[in-house]
Point group: C2
């Protein structure tokens, strides 16, 4: 480890936002020194509370996250926000989101905002996101909010890796069986019905209650439903109180240990997956082999299974 890296780690320890941004970029880019940096970051683990917030597009997650962050700031907590945006590599959607947010929160030194987007097709978004959370925790952010766009598998895992998972719904989503998926239900420790000044709140709440009554969590926690109108800052205090209540209930419970082990297992697997793939196709030579095989598969001269056999045989040599 170089003295430059030690300096970066010292700066993170002291809560330096520029150093936090720099190290997050390094883990996103898989910089050569990122693994060593992260080993040091994990030594600095503090007890920041990680809050995962998910829900369908259009549910108003960003507004809710911004208002919750403002609430925590007023209470004196430093707040980190990590917005996961898997679709942005195509066009920089994350950047647009950031710029709009910067107008309300960005000038506050006690708030750190970062959007995470996919880089290339080798994956690693989920791993980079949990690393970014660990970096913010090491830098002393007391509340770290992870916001995910969409309801894909990666995003579900990212939200499950939080200490508290919040699922955001809006009135009227119950129109469609797909809208309120039992799967999404089961990851929520707390449910928010946002835009609760709209028609259909009562129906959505009843539907949600009946879905929740079917699910069994096994930890004795009965997920509360909080109604908010984020753009008018209504219900934010109730949400913060529900989050604190859940965090308190989890502290020291046996199930919380089980949950932490499942999260740790997932994190190791994600990182392992990425490292193995980088070993297999990360070099210029192996990347050329991959291009040739892709060409053969595209023109149907070969099937994907035989192509993978060839790559794996090459690794053994």
């Amino acid at each position: 480890m170089s003295s430059k890296d030690l300096t970066l780690i010292d700066r993170i320890k002291s809560g330096d936002a520029a150093a936090v941004a720099r190290v997050i970029s390094k883990v996103e880019d898989c910089a050569p020194d990122s693994a060593d940096l992260m080993k040091n970051v994990y030594q600095l683990s503090r007890d920041g509370l990680v809050i995962g917030i998910t829900g369908a597009p259009g549910a108003g997650k960003s507004s809710l996250v911004d208002k919750l962050a403002l609430f925590y700031r007023e209470r004196g907590d430093r707040v980190g926000i990590v917005a996961v945006d898997p679709s942005s590599p195509f066009s920089g959607g994350a950047i647009l989101g950031d710029r709009i947010r910067m107008q309300t929160l960005g000038l506050d030194q006690g708030v750190f905002i970062r959007s995470m987007a996919t880089r290339g097709n080798l994956g690693g978004l989920a791993r980079a996101t949990v690393d970014a959370v660990a970096i913010l925790d090491a830098a002393g952010y007391a509340r770290i909010i992870v916001e995910t766009v969409g309801v894909g598998q990666d995003e579900v895992e990212i939200v499950k890796a939080a200490d508290v998972s919040v699922v955001v719904l809006v009135p009227g989503m119950g129109d469609d069986i797909q809208a309120i998926k039992a799967g999404i239900m089961e990851i929520g420790d707390i449910f928010v019905i946002n835009k609760a000044d709209r028609d259909g709140v009562y129906a959505t709440e009843k539907e949600l209650e009946s879905l929740l009554s079917l699910a069994s969590r096994g930890d004795g926690w009965d997920p509360p439903i909080v109604k908010t109108v984020a753009i008018e800052s209504r219900g934010i205090e109730d949400l913060a109180a529900a989050i604190d209540r859940f965090a308190e209930a989890q502290r020291g419970s046996t199930l919380s240990g089980t949950r932490r082990r499942a999260i740790a297992r997932w994190r190791i697997v994600e990182l392992l997956r990425e490292r193995l793939l980088a070993n297999a196709v990360g070099s210029p030579e192996s990347s050329a082999t991959l291009d040739r095989l892709a060409d053969e598969v595209a023109t149907r001269r070969r099937d994907p299974y035989s192509a993978v056999d060839e790559i794996i045989q090459g690794l053994g040599q």
Copy 2:
């Protein structure tokens, strides 16, 4: 390859739905003979048109897919439907969806419906989905519709792997910057505004047009916007015509070759990722190591990076 496998492959070649279902289950479960079966399936590639359909939850994708399938059936085509449902492992949401669908389509011998859900945390959903598509193609289904719930990264890739990608929106989604993501825009070859009898169709159409005018595809195709009311079967014929037009435009174009190579590369990488991970932690012994390391990471006696170092060092021995 055993004679039993040969029989299965022969049955697929003859279009036997039970054999199709059996082989899809094998590739989902990574059965020992699944790689050999798939190598044979790829030999049977025909020219089924693969149509990917995505959009936010609640957009009415299932109804749209069902109506499009009925339309193709009336034209005499056999239709395969693969519904990707990443959230269902938690609770079987996919099965619920299937049962509802079976009431309308399931009694028709010319329609094959299958939901694909995640199995465990070792991934492989995207790979299993494209394999299922290849199996349906080998069995002579002329139209294969892949429907994805949600807008996560895996789902985007699955839809991009189709011959034609359809993005489904509903009026009023433009409320939120997150709702219409430029990233989702760029994967669409065709856009559908479903529930087009609702208020706000004109505004959504204008917003969509202006977003599309910013995107540059480079292949000269101008993605059409088709308005539908799926539950009343309105606009389905227009959608089918747009799909045929795009498929025709792509035939033999150079960009279509580039697209096929990118898809092939992604498929190889997905399969490789899964195989490497199975090699690393698929045995009972390595799974026990993973459990121990997860426990150490959960209790902060170790960081995930050092845990992965230990697993990778173990592989070298």
